[in-house]
Symmetry: C2
Subunit: 208 residues, 2 copies
């Protein structure tokens, strides 16, 4: 099973429905090039070539490779924040919602691992304004996770010594899946999500 | 607090005691360059310049930047395997030894985060023979963690559904510390290690 194509991650971005197909091809080519060689070693020519276009054609859609990275990073973070928010606002008590959150966050990082790598390991290459946007999205993700842990503790469903450290561990486990998960992994993204859901609930002191 | 200097991680490598000081300077410069810009975007000239040497002087010690990466990667993995083995062979029952293993593995990845990033995120840039050596070391680390989980389950101290997934989660939590830990983090490496020790023991179903 190959990694999720970029177009599936894009619906949350403004203007996604009117975006020309060439822009998706460029984003896809950029994700693959950045993941394989790193942002700094990738040229706009590499990206254009991989998308079957000329460098001049790339510049019609994006001013620079940094603009591509900014859009990829913003889209990836917007998608995971949406998923975390939906789980937090779902049915059931805090433990049930946390289980769903971890299942989906984990499965996303397994399926969209190529995007996940770029989004998490090339943060420092972002231009300053794009970094500010992404940092705010990351903070929102962390806050959703922390708030759900606090709700669980208040409801007597969790028992946690340090909410911030626990929230960090929860997101960290999911993010790191992008690093190690491959198409040869023995668990499907959904199986891994369920197992990580069990492990996280225990970590939070829930009786499972 | 800055990241651990490279020389502190080198004692486990063959020939470490007779290595010229210039080699350490090159390794340190290579770690910093690879961590900042990625392996592919770093030239041997960048490394030599950062070490205060000429490219010609670099070649006296290393044939290529890949040879530097191979040595860094081998040293990092040798150091973490040694630490994991020492904890596994230490005093006390499986839960006590697991706690010590997680504390030290976590603190190492916080302290030596720059090396940790290079070692974990540039694996695919390794030449084939060096990759084989490092892959074997990684497998040994995973086996030590799995064996300790199995010993804990056999002794009735742990209760684990899937040993492999649990072992993966334990190492993953520690490795990902290299990504997010900074000198501005509010916890010291040792505090973080203790908190992660608590979380992991819970994850393994130990009564703590």
């Amino acid at each position: 099973m190959t990694s999720t194509p970029i177009a599936d991650l894009w619906p949350t971005l403004p203007g996604a429905d009117t975006r020309p197909e060439a822009a998706y091809r460029l984003l896809q080519a950029a994700v693959e090039s950045f993941a394989e060689r790193g942002f700094h070693a990738t040229t706009t020519r590499d990206i254009a070539t991989a998308a079957g276009m000329s460098p001049a054609a790339l510049y019609i859609h994006y001013q620079s490779k940094a603009a591509l990275l900014a859009e990829i990073s913003q889209a990836g973070h917007t998608a995971t924040l949406a998923l975390v928010r939906a789980a937090a606002a779902g049915d059931g008590g805090p433990a049930q919602r946390m289980r769903r959150m971890v299942e989906q966050f984990t499965a996303w990082h397994a399926r969209a691992r190529t995007v996940g790598r770029v989004v998490n390991y090339e943060l420092h290459a972002l231009p300053e304004d794009a970094y500010a946007v992404v940092a705010a999205l990351r903070l929102d993700i962390e806050r959703e996770v922390s708030a759900l842990i606090e709700a669980g503790a208040a409801a007597g469903e969790f028992e946690v010594a340090e909410v911030r450290t626990a929230a960090r561990a929860v997101t960290s486990l999911g993010i790191d899946v992008s690093r190690w998960y491959t198409e040869r992994s023995s668990e499907t993204p959904e199986e891994l999500g369920r197992r990580y859901g069990d492990l996280v609930l225990r970590m939070l002191g829930a009786r499972v």
